[in-house]
Amino acid sequence: MDRLKNFIEDFGWPRIIIGIFLLCLFITAPFVGVRVGTSISDTLVRVGMNGVLVLAMVPMVQSGCGLNFGLPLGIIAGLLGATTSVQFGMKGLLGILFAFSIAIPLGLAFGFLYAQILNRVKGEEMMIATYVGFSSVALMCMAWLLLPFSSPVMIWGYGGSGLRTTISTDGFWNHVLSDFMSVQAGSFYFPTGMFLFFVLMLTVVWAFFRTKTGTAMTAVGSNPEFARASGIDVDRMRTISVMLSTALGAIGIIVYQQSFGFIQLYMGPLYMAFPAVAAILLGGASVNKASITNVVVGTFLFQGILTMTPSVINNLIKTDMSEVIRIIVSNGMILYALTRKTRVKR
């Protein structure tokens, strides 16, 4: 009994309630004509697509920079990597690796600049991050039109210049990660490659937080004054964490695109931060503590709800409510988690 109680306390009531709700949805699904196999693989595909984006929250949370509402900045770095790869006509595994090789340095560079802003607004990071995300998207709306991309698959057909809003990755590196060693059994599909990649990323971040620098970063998030008294350069640690988060955002969006099949430009990245924030909070992270477990649990629960609720409920009430439910769940979760910011600093 005590062990059960401890488990519940450790895991947290919100996760248990949502977990049970998700389980109920899976159980109800066959009775309202939703195929369980499809549902489960849909959920898993979405977990794989969004996992790295959720992981991009971790470094910044751990260093005390708050939730990375500026994720669109990282996503833009990823988009630049993806479009450049398509521009040069890179195909298959080479294509996606090329996209990464462009996106990661750009992500680190953007992250460096982004960190300079965040280090000037300590205590207000999340608000500022949101606006950094929004304004970078707006700025890129112009850039997408002006950048000298020329590949006919990407530019507007009529004007002959400027990128389209949606670019297909088909014929380039569509599903290269997802389909690697993937399993198909009837309606059930498991994107093994994408999950292996997700696990690889989780391991890299986990390992990083076991190093001296990672430990220092955690201490900075826990108590910056303590860290400073221990001879840590607090601003430097924060900068590194923001660079890491932004680079992970860049990687994350490329993983997302290869599974989704499209590169979405212009306003595409605008609201991408919110589902990722909601997922990690749902996973049990707080504003200044997040773990790998939070990422995995949170992504699964959140994407599970997002996949299952619309399909089951639409079948129950015969109306399309998916978008409404998606918004209520993701924003409601953020609201809930932020109001529970009970940790008292010092």
């Binding site: 390992a207 076991r210 190093t211 001296k212 430990t215 220092a216 955690t218 201490a219 826990s222 108590n223 004054e225 303590f226 400073r228 008294a229 221990s230 001879g231 840590i232 350069d233 503590k289 940790r343 010092r346």
Partner: protein, 541 residues
């Protein structure tokens, strides 16, 4: 015998404090405090920091913090009737005015507006019929008149239209007092260090003004660290030490020197036995013309030398800069001057460098600076050493990756848990869950792990229970003797310093007012704390 005197002896005293006691979480801060105060009398309340002065005034003023922490024992009577205030408003209604150390003035409001805040004169206008009394207009002319009359009682001139933000501190202090006496029913005024922020000439004017008020029948409780003022102004002096009234005296029968000795007292007798002759040792730390910009603890110009292997004490009253010294040398607050450690000068404002040179610091701000509250004990203990000295790391893949060595961290934590008797469930327990004393032991362990040549310890026993206090002090002495570690202890408790240190420097107004061997009489330290001008007076005597 005049008629007035007859009346005075027959009627009950204006204020009677009778056997008042107060505990904070089992820690006695006031015990059996009793005294009386007549109308028009000025009572000087003196004592060291933490003697219980503020707590007593909080009780008198009905501050909610008292009720929240379990109330108080004993009785307070005003004009013979028991007064048990549940909020400061009740105290104000009963005629008690309080002038705080920190100003409570609205910066953008004029003197008049500040004095009459929430008690403004108002006049009728038609909107009152609709919205009620709260919408009555201000009667500025009458307000100015009332404010002026309150100021004139102080016999000091302030323009009643000046905005508070633009006034010199002295004027702000007068405005505060004018506000308190502008209430018609104010009979008792509590002044908590009213002269602390004033220049000497302003203080004189204030003292004169207070004397005038007393003549008008207002009683006063005057709290001050400037003993000459107290002797000069008060009719009666009550000395508090460790929450007890140790002496009640009339100024004409005593002097500054005697009061100082009552204040510091002699709490831990004997044991000033560690008189090691250190004539032949070399200096390990030479500080010259150090200044530190630490909020509330500004260090202006401090020079001293610490000998290798000694325990050096830094004492002084709160806010005089004693805490700034260690913080400045350790690079936690902007500092300047010259610090030579072990023969080589160290750069200031660079915490990492100082730690690398084998100096460690146990901060006075345990929860703010000293601990990672949300992390486990082993993290707290090992972190600084890991970052500065690269210990508690394990190499993998031929040194390509260095990971935290959890096992070594656990071992170190377990060793110190045993050595310092840290009461905890395990090394995995989070620091926030420990009691103050055990948190302090973790802070010490964190410093010991570094294996420093010189250890700064600030306020080592603040807010911890007696058992832990003894253990902490004994540990400091032991590491000093066994490992030859030089220790610099900063503390507001003089007796603690006298019990562990070889030499003690007293800091006053950001400057060293004197360095004495620890076996010097307590009175001498008391006088050094009160500032050098007192010493001059004592020497003359």
């Amino acid at each position: 015998m005049t008629l007035e005197n007859v009346v005075r002896t027959d009627s009950p005293p204006l204020l009677k404090i009778d056997g008042v006691g107060k505990e904070y979480f089992g820690n006695k801060v006031l015990e059996e405090v009793s005294f009386t105060l007549e109308a028009g009398e000025i009572l000087g309340l003196v004592g060291e920091n933490g003697a219980g002065k503020s707590t007593l005034m909080n009780i008198l003023f009905g501050m909610p913090v008292i009720a929240r922490t379990g109330g108080y024992t004993g009785r307070i009577e005003i004009n013979g009737r028991e007064a048990a205030f549940s909020s400061p408003f009740d105290a104000i209604d009963a005629g008690i005015g309080m002038v705080h150390q920190e100003f409570s003035l609205l910066p953008g409001f004029t003197v008049t507006e500040n004095i009459l805040l929430n008690r403004e004169s108002t006049k009728y206008n038609p909107l009152v019929e609709v919205f009620g009394e709260r919408i009555r207009a201000l009667d500025r002319a009458d307000m100015t008149k009332r404010a002026k009359s309150a100021i004139s009682k102080l016999e000091f001139h302030i323009d009643s239209n000046t905005v508070a933000a633009e006034m010199p501190v002295g004027h702000k202090q007068f405005t505060e007092i004018a506000r308190e006496i502008s209430r018609d029913n104010t009979k008792l005024l509590v002044l908590d260090e009213p002269t602390a922020v004033l220049t000497e000439s302003e203080a004189e004017i204030l003292i004169r003004a207070l004397r005038n008020l007393a003549v008008k029948g207002i009683a006063m409780v005057f709290i001050s660290h400037r003993l000459e003022e107290v002797v000069d102004l008060c009719d009666k002096i009550v000395v508090l030490r460790d929450g007890r009234v140790v002496r009640e005296a009339e100024p004409k029968n005593t002097d500054v020197y005697q009061i100082a000795s009552w204040m510091v007292g002699r709490k831990i007798e004997g044991d000033h036995s560690r008189r090691v002759d250190r004539e032949d040792t070399e200096p390990i730390l030479e500080v010259s013309h150090l200044w530190v910009d630490m909020p509330g603890e500004t260090v202006r110009d401090v020079s001293f030398t610490v000998q290798r292997g000694e325990i050096f004490g830094i004492g002084g009253l709160a806010g005089q800069g004693k805490l700034g010294i260690a913080n400045g040398i350790m690079g936690l607050h902007p500092a300047g001057g010259k610090v030579v450690f072990d023969g080589k000068s160290i750069p200031l404002n660079d915490p990492a460098h100082v730690l690398k040179r084998d100096m460690a610091f146990v901060s006075e701000d345990r929860r703010g600076v000293g601990l990672l509250l949300d992390e486990s004990i082993d993290w707290n203990i090992a972190f600084t050493s890991m970052q500065v000295q690269g210990r508690f790391l394990k190499s993998y893949l031929g040194g390509l990756i260095q990971w935290r060595d959890d096992e070594a961290m656990r071992d170190a934590a377990d060793r110190y848990i045993e050595l310092l008797e840290i009461r905890c469930t395990s090394h995995r327990q989070r620091a926030v869950e420990l009691s103050g004393g055990n948190q302090q032991k973790v802070c010490l362990a964190k410093a010991f792990v570094i294996g420093p040549k010189l250890l700064f310890v600030s306020e080592p026993t603040r807010g911890i229970d007696i058992g832990a206090k003894k253990l902490v002090l004994d540990t400091l002495k032991r590491v000093n003797e066994e490992q030859g570690m030089t220790v610099v202890v900063t503390s507001s408790e003089l007796e603690e310093l006298r019990a562990v240190c070889d030499r003690i420097t007293i800091v006053d107004s950001g400057r060293v007012s004197g360095i004495r061997p620890a076996n010097c009489p307590a009175e001498e330290f008391g006088l050094l704390m009160m500032g050098a001008q007192d010493i001059a007076a004592a020497v003359e005597r």
